[in-house]
Symmetry: none
Subunit: 252 residues, 2 copies
DNA sequence: GCATGTTTTGCATGTTTGTGCAAGAAGCGG
DNA sequence: CCGCTTCTTGCACAAACATGCAAAACATGC
Protein backbone atom coordinates (compact mmCIF):
# COMPACT_ATOMS: atom_id res chain seq x y z
CA UNK A 1 0.00 0.00 0.00
CA UNK A 2 1.27 3.43 -0.95
CA UNK A 3 1.70 6.08 1.71
CA UNK A 4 -0.44 8.39 -0.32
CA UNK A 5 -3.24 5.86 -0.48
CA UNK A 6 -3.20 5.50 3.27
CA UNK A 7 -3.48 9.25 3.63
CA UNK A 8 -6.43 9.29 1.24
CA UNK A 9 -8.19 6.54 3.15
CA UNK A 10 -7.64 8.39 6.40
CA UNK A 11 -9.09 11.55 4.85
CA UNK A 12 -12.12 9.58 3.64
CA UNK A 13 -12.64 8.13 7.08
CA UNK A 14 -12.26 11.53 8.70
CA UNK A 15 -14.85 12.92 6.32
CA UNK A 16 -17.24 10.10 7.08
CA UNK A 17 -16.86 9.81 10.85
CA UNK A 18 -15.10 12.97 11.92
CA UNK A 19 -12.45 11.12 13.87
CA UNK A 20 -10.02 8.21 13.64
CA UNK A 21 -8.15 6.06 16.16
CA UNK A 22 -4.48 5.32 15.66
CA UNK A 23 -4.70 1.70 16.76
CA UNK A 24 -7.74 0.94 14.67
CA UNK A 25 -6.15 2.40 11.53
CA UNK A 26 -2.96 0.43 12.16
CA UNK A 27 -4.74 -2.93 12.26
CA UNK A 28 -6.98 -1.96 9.35
CA UNK A 29 -4.04 -1.05 7.13
CA UNK A 30 -1.73 -3.76 8.42
CA UNK A 31 1.01 -1.36 9.48
CA UNK A 32 2.45 -0.43 12.85
CA UNK A 33 0.88 2.24 15.00
CA UNK A 34 4.05 4.25 14.62
CA UNK A 35 3.44 4.54 10.92
CA UNK A 36 -0.12 5.68 11.45
CA UNK A 37 1.02 8.23 14.01
CA UNK A 38 3.56 9.51 11.52
CA UNK A 39 0.81 9.79 8.91
CA UNK A 40 -1.45 11.69 11.27
CA UNK A 41 1.39 13.99 12.26
CA UNK A 42 2.10 14.85 8.63
CA UNK A 43 -1.55 15.35 7.80
CA UNK A 44 -1.98 17.58 10.82
CA UNK A 45 1.00 19.63 9.70
CA UNK A 46 -0.66 20.00 6.31
CA UNK A 47 -3.84 21.12 7.99
CA UNK A 48 -5.88 18.08 6.97
CA UNK A 49 -6.72 17.00 10.48
CA UNK A 50 -6.17 17.90 14.09
CA UNK A 51 -4.08 15.60 16.21
CA UNK A 52 -5.55 14.42 19.51
CA UNK A 53 -4.51 11.86 22.07
CA UNK A 54 -5.38 8.44 20.66
CA UNK A 55 -5.97 9.48 17.08
CA UNK A 56 -7.09 12.54 15.15
CA UNK A 57 -10.24 14.50 14.38
CA UNK A 58 -11.35 16.29 11.24
CA UNK A 59 -9.87 19.75 10.86
CA UNK A 60 -13.13 21.51 9.99
CA UNK A 61 -16.21 19.40 10.71
CA UNK A 62 -18.03 19.61 7.38
CA UNK A 63 -15.32 20.95 5.07
CA UNK A 64 -14.40 17.53 3.76
CA UNK A 65 -15.03 16.96 0.09
CA UNK A 66 -18.33 15.21 -0.46
CA UNK A 67 -16.84 13.26 -3.32
CA UNK A 68 -13.42 11.70 -3.29
CA UNK A 69 -12.16 12.95 -6.63
CA UNK A 70 -9.73 10.07 -6.80
CA UNK A 71 -11.91 7.02 -7.07
CA UNK A 72 -14.05 8.67 -9.68
CA UNK A 73 -15.11 5.45 -11.42
CA UNK A 74 -18.15 7.11 -12.85
CA UNK A 75 -16.10 9.02 -15.39
CA UNK A 76 -17.86 7.31 -18.29
CA UNK A 77 -21.31 8.16 -16.97
CA UNK A 78 -20.28 11.74 -16.38
CA UNK A 79 -19.01 12.14 -19.91
CA UNK A 80 -22.31 10.77 -21.20
CA UNK A 81 -24.23 13.20 -19.00
CA UNK A 82 -21.98 16.01 -20.20
CA UNK A 83 -22.66 15.27 -23.85
CA UNK A 84 -26.39 15.31 -23.21
CA UNK A 85 -26.15 18.51 -21.19
CA UNK A 86 -24.27 20.53 -23.81
CA UNK A 87 -27.00 19.66 -26.29
CA UNK A 88 -29.09 22.24 -24.44
CA UNK A 89 -26.72 25.04 -25.48
CA UNK A 90 -26.83 27.38 -28.42
CA UNK A 91 -24.68 30.30 -29.50
CA UNK A 92 -25.20 33.63 -27.78
CA UNK A 93 -26.26 32.24 -24.43
CA UNK A 94 -24.72 33.23 -21.14
CA UNK A 95 -24.09 30.66 -18.43
CA UNK A 96 -23.13 30.25 -14.81
CA UNK A 97 -21.20 27.05 -14.14
CA UNK A 98 -20.17 26.18 -10.63
CA UNK A 99 -17.98 23.39 -9.27
CA UNK A 100 -18.05 19.61 -9.19
CA UNK A 101 -16.61 16.90 -11.38
CA UNK A 102 -19.74 16.64 -13.51
CA UNK A 103 -19.58 20.33 -14.35
CA UNK A 104 -15.91 19.99 -15.23
CA UNK A 105 -16.90 17.24 -17.63
CA UNK A 106 -19.62 19.45 -19.09
CA UNK A 107 -17.21 22.33 -19.59
CA UNK A 108 -14.75 20.16 -21.47
CA UNK A 109 -17.60 18.81 -23.61
CA UNK A 110 -18.72 22.23 -24.78
CA UNK A 111 -18.22 22.43 -28.58
CA UNK A 112 -15.58 24.87 -29.72
CA UNK A 113 -17.85 26.47 -32.30
CA UNK A 114 -20.35 27.84 -29.80
CA UNK A 115 -20.08 31.52 -28.91
CA UNK A 116 -20.99 31.71 -25.23
CA UNK A 117 -20.47 33.93 -22.24
CA UNK A 118 -19.57 31.79 -19.27
CA UNK A 119 -18.98 32.83 -15.68
CA UNK A 120 -17.55 30.26 -13.30
CA UNK A 121 -16.07 30.07 -9.81
CA UNK A 122 -14.54 26.66 -10.54
CA UNK A 123 -10.87 26.44 -11.38
CA UNK A 124 -11.43 23.17 -13.20
CA UNK A 125 -14.17 24.61 -15.38
CA UNK A 126 -12.13 27.72 -16.14
CA UNK A 127 -9.14 25.58 -17.11
CA UNK A 128 -11.27 23.44 -19.38
CA UNK A 129 -12.60 26.55 -21.13
CA UNK A 130 -9.33 28.44 -21.29
CA UNK A 131 -8.73 27.48 -24.92
CA UNK A 132 -12.25 27.93 -26.26
CA UNK A 133 -11.63 30.92 -28.51
CA UNK A 134 -15.31 31.84 -28.90
CA UNK A 135 -16.15 31.69 -25.20
CA UNK A 136 -16.08 34.93 -23.26
CA UNK A 137 -14.84 33.58 -19.96
CA UNK A 138 -15.41 35.39 -16.69
CA UNK A 139 -13.65 34.06 -13.62
CA UNK A 140 -15.53 34.64 -10.38
CA UNK A 141 -12.73 35.16 -7.92
CA UNK A 142 -12.54 35.00 -4.16
CA UNK A 143 -11.15 32.75 -1.50
CA UNK A 144 -10.29 29.42 -3.08
CA UNK A 145 -11.64 26.37 -1.30
CA UNK A 146 -9.42 23.46 -2.26
CA UNK A 147 -11.88 20.83 -1.12
CA UNK A 148 -14.51 22.17 -3.47
CA UNK A 149 -12.16 23.39 -6.19
CA UNK A 150 -14.11 26.63 -6.36
CA UNK A 151 -13.99 30.18 -5.10
CA UNK A 152 -16.42 31.08 -2.35
CA UNK A 153 -16.99 33.87 0.11
CA UNK A 154 -18.00 37.51 0.03
CA UNK A 155 -15.89 38.46 -2.99
CA UNK A 156 -17.37 35.66 -5.04
CA UNK A 157 -20.90 36.63 -4.05
CA UNK A 158 -20.21 40.24 -5.04
CA UNK A 159 -18.93 39.13 -8.44
CA UNK A 160 -21.98 36.94 -9.04
CA UNK A 161 -24.29 39.80 -8.05
CA UNK A 162 -23.03 41.86 -10.97
CA UNK A 163 -23.95 39.25 -13.54
CA UNK A 164 -26.97 37.52 -14.98
CA UNK A 165 -27.20 34.37 -17.06
CA UNK A 166 -29.65 32.40 -19.15
CA UNK A 167 -28.72 29.06 -17.64
CA UNK A 168 -27.03 27.93 -14.45
CA UNK A 169 -25.29 24.58 -14.46
CA UNK A 170 -25.58 23.60 -10.82
CA UNK A 171 -23.24 20.82 -9.76
CA UNK A 172 -22.25 18.46 -6.94
CA UNK A 173 -25.35 18.59 -4.81
CA UNK A 174 -27.99 16.44 -3.26
CA UNK A 175 -31.25 16.25 -5.14
CA UNK A 176 -34.61 15.41 -3.64
CA UNK A 177 -38.08 16.01 -5.04
CA UNK A 178 -39.39 17.46 -1.80
CA UNK A 179 -36.37 19.26 -0.36
CA UNK A 180 -35.03 20.37 -3.74
CA UNK A 181 -31.36 21.12 -4.35
CA UNK A 182 -29.05 20.94 -1.33
CA UNK A 183 -25.32 21.45 -0.78
CA UNK A 184 -22.76 20.03 1.63
CA UNK A 185 -21.12 23.28 2.57
CA UNK A 186 -22.44 26.58 3.82
CA UNK A 187 -20.21 28.86 1.75
CA UNK A 188 -20.77 26.71 -1.32
CA UNK A 189 -24.53 26.92 -0.85
CA UNK A 190 -24.42 30.71 -0.61
CA UNK A 191 -22.70 31.04 -3.97
CA UNK A 192 -25.07 28.56 -5.58
CA UNK A 193 -28.05 30.50 -4.23
CA UNK A 194 -26.69 33.75 -5.67
CA UNK A 195 -26.16 32.14 -9.07
CA UNK A 196 -29.63 30.63 -8.99
CA UNK A 197 -31.14 34.02 -8.16
CA UNK A 198 -29.44 35.65 -11.13
CA UNK A 199 -30.25 33.03 -13.77
CA UNK A 200 -33.33 32.46 -15.86
CA UNK A 201 -33.11 28.67 -15.60
CA UNK A 202 -31.28 25.96 -13.69
CA UNK A 203 -29.73 22.90 -15.32
CA UNK A 204 -28.73 19.94 -13.19
CA UNK A 205 -26.88 16.90 -14.46
CA UNK A 206 -26.52 14.10 -11.94
CA UNK A 207 -25.52 10.50 -11.71
CA UNK A 208 -27.98 8.12 -10.07
CA UNK A 209 -26.23 8.15 -6.70
CA UNK A 210 -27.15 11.80 -6.22
CA UNK A 211 -30.85 11.28 -6.88
CA UNK A 212 -33.11 11.23 -3.84
CA UNK A 213 -30.36 12.40 -1.50
CA UNK A 214 -30.20 15.56 0.56
CA UNK A 215 -27.41 17.59 2.14
CA UNK A 216 -27.61 20.06 5.04
CA UNK A 217 -27.80 23.36 3.15
CA UNK A 218 -30.75 24.29 1.01
CA UNK A 219 -29.98 25.92 -2.36
CA UNK A 220 -33.20 25.98 -4.37
CA UNK A 221 -36.62 24.39 -4.34
CA UNK A 222 -37.48 21.54 -6.73
CA UNK A 223 -39.67 23.87 -8.79
CA UNK A 224 -36.64 25.94 -9.76
CA UNK A 225 -35.16 23.15 -11.88
CA UNK A 226 -35.70 23.79 -15.59
CA UNK A 227 -33.63 20.94 -17.06
CA UNK A 228 -32.68 17.69 -15.39
CA UNK A 229 -30.09 15.52 -17.16
CA UNK A 230 -29.96 11.96 -15.85
CA UNK A 231 -28.71 8.50 -16.76
CA UNK A 232 -30.93 6.20 -18.75
CA UNK A 233 -31.10 3.92 -15.73
CA UNK A 234 -32.49 6.57 -13.37
CA UNK A 235 -35.57 5.40 -11.41
CA UNK A 236 -38.69 6.57 -13.22
CA UNK A 237 -40.61 7.22 -10.01
CA UNK A 238 -38.13 9.83 -8.84
CA UNK A 239 -38.03 11.50 -12.23
CA UNK A 240 -41.81 11.74 -12.31
CA UNK A 241 -41.75 13.75 -9.09
CA UNK A 242 -39.42 16.31 -10.64
CA UNK A 243 -41.37 16.35 -13.87
CA UNK A 244 -44.54 17.26 -11.96
CA UNK A 245 -42.73 20.27 -10.55
CA UNK A 246 -41.97 21.54 -14.03
CA UNK A 247 -38.57 20.04 -14.81
CA UNK A 248 -37.75 18.85 -18.30
CA UNK A 249 -36.03 15.45 -18.22
CA UNK A 250 -33.16 14.64 -20.58
CA UNK A 251 -31.60 11.19 -20.80
CA UNK A 252 -27.87 10.78 -21.41
CA UNK B 1 7.53 -1.98 -26.95
CA UNK B 2 7.74 1.72 -27.72
CA UNK B 3 8.20 4.33 -25.07
CA UNK B 4 5.08 6.17 -26.17
CA UNK B 5 3.05 2.99 -26.00
CA UNK B 6 4.17 2.45 -22.45
CA UNK B 7 3.24 5.99 -21.54
CA UNK B 8 -0.21 5.54 -23.04
CA UNK B 9 -0.77 2.30 -21.14
CA UNK B 10 0.29 3.97 -17.92
CA UNK B 11 -2.14 6.83 -18.58
CA UNK B 12 -4.93 4.33 -19.22
CA UNK B 13 -4.17 2.52 -16.02
CA UNK B 14 -4.06 5.77 -14.06
CA UNK B 15 -7.42 6.79 -15.48
CA UNK B 16 -8.92 3.43 -14.59
CA UNK B 17 -7.45 2.88 -11.14
CA UNK B 18 -6.12 6.22 -10.04
CA UNK B 19 -2.71 4.85 -9.15
CA UNK B 20 0.10 2.64 -10.40
CA UNK B 21 3.00 0.79 -8.79
CA UNK B 22 6.47 0.97 -10.30
CA UNK B 23 7.28 -2.68 -9.68
CA UNK B 24 3.99 -3.93 -11.05
CA UNK B 25 4.33 -1.93 -14.25
CA UNK B 26 7.89 -3.17 -14.72
CA UNK B 27 6.92 -6.83 -14.64
CA UNK B 28 3.82 -6.17 -16.74
CA UNK B 29 5.79 -4.41 -19.48
CA UNK B 30 8.83 -6.63 -19.20
CA UNK B 31 11.21 -3.75 -18.60
CA UNK B 32 13.33 -2.77 -15.62
CA UNK B 33 11.92 -0.71 -12.79
CA UNK B 34 14.38 2.00 -13.69
CA UNK B 35 12.71 2.44 -17.04
CA UNK B 36 9.30 2.66 -15.43
CA UNK B 37 10.59 5.21 -12.95
CA UNK B 38 12.00 7.25 -15.83
CA UNK B 39 8.60 7.09 -17.52
CA UNK B 40 6.79 8.20 -14.40
CA UNK B 41 9.28 11.00 -13.84
CA UNK B 42 8.72 12.32 -17.35
CA UNK B 43 4.97 12.02 -17.11
CA UNK B 44 4.97 13.80 -13.77
CA UNK B 45 7.03 16.59 -15.29
CA UNK B 46 4.44 16.86 -18.06
CA UNK B 47 1.71 17.05 -15.43
CA UNK B 48 0.11 13.73 -16.37
CA UNK B 49 0.52 12.19 -12.96
CA UNK B 50 1.88 12.87 -9.53
CA UNK B 51 4.90 10.92 -8.39
CA UNK B 52 4.72 9.20 -5.02
CA UNK B 53 7.03 6.78 -3.27
CA UNK B 54 6.38 3.37 -4.83
CA UNK B 55 4.62 4.51 -7.96
CA UNK B 56 2.41 7.37 -9.06
CA UNK B 57 -1.17 8.57 -8.65
CA UNK B 58 -3.48 10.36 -11.05
CA UNK B 59 -2.84 14.06 -11.30
CA UNK B 60 -5.03 16.37 -9.25
CA UNK B 61 -8.09 17.41 -11.25
CA UNK B 62 -7.02 21.03 -11.59
CA UNK B 63 -3.32 20.37 -11.89
CA UNK B 64 -3.62 19.94 -15.63
CA UNK B 65 -2.00 23.29 -16.12
CA UNK B 66 -4.07 25.20 -18.66
CA UNK B 67 -1.30 27.66 -19.29
CA UNK B 68 1.45 25.16 -18.85
CA UNK B 69 5.06 25.58 -19.62
CA UNK B 70 4.47 23.85 -22.91
CA UNK B 71 5.94 25.47 -25.95
CA UNK B 72 8.17 27.67 -23.91
CA UNK B 73 11.72 27.21 -25.01
CA UNK B 74 13.62 27.89 -21.82
CA UNK B 75 11.97 25.44 -19.44
CA UNK B 76 15.18 24.49 -17.69
CA UNK B 77 16.27 28.08 -17.14
CA UNK B 78 12.86 29.02 -15.83
CA UNK B 79 12.84 26.18 -13.33
CA UNK B 80 16.26 27.29 -12.11
CA UNK B 81 15.02 30.86 -11.77
CA UNK B 82 11.96 29.57 -9.94
CA UNK B 83 14.01 27.64 -7.41
CA UNK B 84 16.10 30.71 -6.72
CA UNK B 85 13.01 32.91 -6.45
CA UNK B 86 11.19 30.75 -3.91
CA UNK B 87 14.25 30.93 -1.68
CA UNK B 88 13.12 34.48 -0.92
CA UNK B 89 9.95 33.19 0.72
CA UNK B 90 9.22 32.41 4.32
CA UNK B 91 6.10 31.30 6.16
CA UNK B 92 3.52 33.95 6.97
CA UNK B 93 4.15 36.17 3.98
CA UNK B 94 1.48 37.36 1.58
CA UNK B 95 2.10 37.52 -2.15
CA UNK B 96 0.70 38.80 -5.40
CA UNK B 97 1.61 36.60 -8.35
CA UNK B 98 0.53 37.59 -11.83
CA UNK B 99 0.77 35.76 -15.14
CA UNK B 100 3.53 34.45 -17.34
CA UNK B 101 5.30 31.16 -17.69
CA UNK B 102 8.09 32.09 -15.29
CA UNK B 103 5.56 32.85 -12.58
CA UNK B 104 3.81 29.55 -13.25
CA UNK B 105 7.15 27.85 -12.72
CA UNK B 106 7.66 29.78 -9.50
CA UNK B 107 4.22 28.81 -8.22
CA UNK B 108 4.86 25.13 -8.83
CA UNK B 109 8.24 25.42 -7.13
CA UNK B 110 6.81 26.79 -3.90
CA UNK B 111 7.48 24.28 -1.11
CA UNK B 112 4.41 22.62 0.35
CA UNK B 113 5.40 23.33 3.92
CA UNK B 114 5.27 27.11 3.61
CA UNK B 115 2.19 28.82 5.01
CA UNK B 116 1.50 31.70 2.63
CA UNK B 117 -1.35 33.90 1.51
CA UNK B 118 -1.26 34.18 -2.25
CA UNK B 119 -3.48 36.26 -4.52
CA UNK B 120 -3.24 35.66 -8.26
CA UNK B 121 -5.08 36.54 -11.44
CA UNK B 122 -3.35 33.75 -13.34
CA UNK B 123 -5.22 30.51 -13.95
CA UNK B 124 -1.95 28.62 -14.29
CA UNK B 125 -0.62 29.89 -10.99
CA UNK B 126 -3.90 29.13 -9.24
CA UNK B 127 -3.90 25.60 -10.65
CA UNK B 128 -0.34 25.03 -9.54
CA UNK B 129 -1.24 26.12 -6.02
CA UNK B 130 -4.58 24.35 -5.80
CA UNK B 131 -3.17 21.46 -3.80
CA UNK B 132 -0.90 23.39 -1.46
CA UNK B 133 -2.76 22.79 1.78
CA UNK B 134 -1.01 25.52 3.72
CA UNK B 135 -1.50 28.23 1.09
CA UNK B 136 -4.48 30.53 1.51
CA UNK B 137 -5.28 31.05 -2.15
CA UNK B 138 -7.23 34.05 -3.38
CA UNK B 139 -8.29 34.07 -7.00
CA UNK B 140 -8.54 37.54 -8.54
CA UNK B 141 -11.42 37.14 -10.93
CA UNK B 142 -12.58 39.14 -13.89
CA UNK B 143 -12.62 38.86 -17.66
CA UNK B 144 -10.27 36.07 -18.68
CA UNK B 145 -7.75 36.93 -21.36
CA UNK B 146 -6.76 33.66 -22.99
CA UNK B 147 -3.65 35.11 -24.60
CA UNK B 148 -2.26 36.14 -21.25
CA UNK B 149 -3.81 33.32 -19.24
CA UNK B 150 -4.86 35.85 -16.63
CA UNK B 151 -7.88 37.84 -15.55
CA UNK B 152 -7.87 41.54 -16.36
CA UNK B 153 -10.29 44.44 -16.40
CA UNK B 154 -12.26 46.47 -13.92
CA UNK B 155 -13.33 43.55 -11.76
CA UNK B 156 -9.77 42.37 -11.39
CA UNK B 157 -8.58 45.86 -10.48
CA UNK B 158 -11.30 46.13 -7.85
CA UNK B 159 -10.26 42.80 -6.35
CA UNK B 160 -6.61 43.84 -6.22
CA UNK B 161 -7.52 47.14 -4.60
CA UNK B 162 -8.92 45.29 -1.58
CA UNK B 163 -5.68 43.48 -0.88
CA UNK B 164 -2.11 44.18 0.14
CA UNK B 165 0.95 41.95 -0.04
CA UNK B 166 4.52 41.75 1.16
CA UNK B 167 5.89 40.73 -2.22
CA UNK B 168 4.69 40.97 -5.79
CA UNK B 169 6.05 38.46 -8.28
CA UNK B 170 5.82 40.44 -11.49
CA UNK B 171 6.07 38.34 -14.62
CA UNK B 172 6.33 38.43 -18.41
CA UNK B 173 7.53 41.94 -18.97
CA UNK B 174 10.24 43.99 -20.54
CA UNK B 175 12.98 45.16 -18.24
CA UNK B 176 15.23 48.16 -18.80
CA UNK B 177 17.34 50.06 -16.30
CA UNK B 178 16.13 53.45 -17.48
CA UNK B 179 12.51 52.77 -18.45
CA UNK B 180 11.90 50.23 -15.71
CA UNK B 181 9.27 47.50 -15.98
CA UNK B 182 7.04 47.54 -19.06
CA UNK B 183 4.20 45.36 -20.34
CA UNK B 184 2.90 44.41 -23.77
CA UNK B 185 -0.77 44.94 -23.12
CA UNK B 186 -2.74 47.86 -21.74
CA UNK B 187 -5.13 45.88 -19.54
CA UNK B 188 -2.31 43.70 -18.31
CA UNK B 189 -0.26 46.75 -17.38
CA UNK B 190 -3.16 48.22 -15.41
CA UNK B 191 -3.43 45.13 -13.23
CA UNK B 192 0.33 44.98 -12.71
CA UNK B 193 0.35 48.64 -11.67
CA UNK B 194 -2.39 48.02 -9.13
CA UNK B 195 -0.54 45.04 -7.69
CA UNK B 196 2.70 47.03 -7.53
CA UNK B 197 0.93 49.86 -5.73
CA UNK B 198 -0.41 47.50 -3.07
CA UNK B 199 2.78 45.57 -2.34
CA UNK B 200 5.74 46.35 -0.14
CA UNK B 201 8.28 44.93 -2.59
CA UNK B 202 8.52 43.74 -6.17
CA UNK B 203 10.28 40.54 -7.21
CA UNK B 204 11.16 39.99 -10.85
CA UNK B 205 12.62 36.79 -12.22
CA UNK B 206 13.67 36.97 -15.86
CA UNK B 207 15.61 35.05 -18.43
CA UNK B 208 18.35 36.91 -20.26
CA UNK B 209 16.23 37.64 -23.31
CA UNK B 210 14.00 39.94 -21.27
CA UNK B 211 16.87 42.01 -19.94
CA UNK B 212 17.39 45.42 -21.54
CA UNK B 213 14.14 45.24 -23.48
CA UNK B 214 11.11 47.50 -23.24
CA UNK B 215 7.42 47.17 -24.10
CA UNK B 216 4.87 49.94 -24.78
CA UNK B 217 3.16 50.17 -21.40
CA UNK B 218 4.96 51.38 -18.33
CA UNK B 219 4.31 49.44 -15.10
CA UNK B 220 6.88 50.59 -12.55
CA UNK B 221 10.14 52.49 -12.41
CA UNK B 222 13.45 50.66 -12.01
CA UNK B 223 13.77 51.89 -8.44
CA UNK B 224 10.67 49.90 -7.46
CA UNK B 225 12.42 46.56 -7.94
CA UNK B 226 13.41 45.01 -4.63
CA UNK B 227 14.64 41.61 -5.81
CA UNK B 228 15.90 40.70 -9.26
CA UNK B 229 16.43 37.01 -9.97
CA UNK B 230 18.53 36.35 -13.07
CA UNK B 231 20.52 33.64 -14.76
CA UNK B 232 24.19 33.21 -13.91
CA UNK B 233 25.03 34.26 -17.44
CA UNK B 234 23.26 37.62 -17.23
CA UNK B 235 25.41 40.56 -18.41
CA UNK B 236 27.05 42.19 -15.41
CA UNK B 237 26.80 45.69 -16.84
CA UNK B 238 23.02 45.57 -17.02
CA UNK B 239 22.75 44.12 -13.54
CA UNK B 240 24.95 46.87 -12.14
CA UNK B 241 22.48 49.47 -13.41
CA UNK B 242 19.65 47.84 -11.52
CA UNK B 243 21.79 47.36 -8.45
CA UNK B 244 22.52 51.08 -8.36
CA UNK B 245 18.79 51.71 -8.26
CA UNK B 246 18.45 49.60 -5.13
CA UNK B 247 17.66 46.15 -6.48
CA UNK B 248 19.07 43.07 -4.80
CA UNK B 249 20.46 40.64 -7.38
CA UNK B 250 19.97 36.88 -6.96
CA UNK B 251 21.58 34.34 -9.28
CA UNK B 252 19.76 31.15 -10.21
C1' DG C 1 29.70 2.37 -46.19
C1' DC C 2 31.21 4.32 -42.29
C1' DA C 3 31.79 7.64 -38.80
C1' DT C 4 29.21 10.37 -35.74
C1' DG C 5 25.65 11.73 -32.72
C1' DT C 6 21.23 10.71 -30.35
C1' DT C 7 17.95 7.93 -27.83
C1' DT C 8 16.76 4.20 -25.09
C1' DT C 9 17.68 0.84 -21.92
C1' DG C 10 19.79 -1.89 -18.18
C1' DC C 11 23.12 -2.10 -14.58
C1' DA C 12 26.14 -0.49 -10.74
C1' DT C 13 26.61 3.21 -7.49
C1' DG C 14 25.41 5.77 -3.52
C1' DT C 15 21.56 8.32 -1.54
C1' DT C 16 16.99 9.04 0.21
C1' DT C 17 12.68 7.50 2.22
C1' DG C 18 9.46 4.68 4.59
C1' DT C 19 8.96 1.42 8.13
C1' DG C 20 9.36 -1.14 12.45
C1' DC C 21 11.50 -1.64 16.88
C1' DA C 22 13.24 -0.04 21.35
C1' DA C 23 13.80 3.32 24.94
C1' DG C 24 12.37 7.13 27.32
C1' DA C 25 8.99 11.05 27.99
C1' DA C 26 4.38 12.52 28.54
C1' DG C 27 -0.66 12.04 29.22
C1' DC C 28 -4.39 9.75 31.54
C1' DG C 29 -6.98 7.21 35.17
C1' DG C 30 -7.20 5.18 39.52
C1' DC D 1 1.53 7.79 44.09
C1' DC D 2 1.39 4.06 40.42
C1' DG D 3 0.20 1.42 36.33
C1' DC D 4 -1.24 1.83 31.76
C1' DT D 5 -1.51 3.82 27.34
C1' DT D 6 0.02 6.90 23.91
C1' DC D 7 3.47 9.62 22.10
C1' DT D 8 8.14 11.13 20.47
C1' DT D 9 12.86 10.23 19.35
C1' DG D 10 16.73 7.71 17.77
C1' DC D 11 18.26 3.94 15.24
C1' DA D 12 18.61 0.16 11.87
C1' DC D 13 17.25 -2.04 7.71
C1' DA D 14 15.16 -2.70 3.44
C1' DA D 15 12.83 -0.82 -0.43
C1' DA D 16 12.64 2.77 -3.66
C1' DC D 17 15.13 6.26 -5.59
C1' DA D 18 18.45 9.35 -8.66
C1' DT D 19 22.64 9.36 -11.09
C1' DG D 20 26.43 8.08 -13.99
C1' DC D 21 27.94 4.92 -17.27
C1' DA D 22 28.11 1.71 -21.02
C1' DA D 23 25.96 -1.10 -24.56
C1' DA D 24 22.61 -1.41 -28.12
C1' DA D 25 19.45 0.54 -31.56
C1' DC D 26 18.61 4.16 -34.36
C1' DA D 27 19.08 8.25 -37.23
C1' DT D 28 22.10 11.56 -39.78
C1' DG D 29 25.69 13.34 -42.70
C1' DC D 30 29.88 12.94 -45.38
Amino acid sequence: MLTDERHQLIRDRLAAEGRVLAGELASRFGVSEDTVRRDLREMAKAGQCRRVYGGAVAAAPFAAAPVSLRGSHAVEEKMRLARAAVALLSSGQSLFIDGGTTNAAIASAIPRDLALTIATNSLGVASALSDHALVELIVLGGRFDRDLGTCVGADTLAAVAQLGADLFFLGSCGLDASRGVTAFDSAEAEVKRAMARNSAGIVIAVTNDKLATAAPYRVAGPEAIRHLVVEKTAPAAILADFEHQGAEIHFA
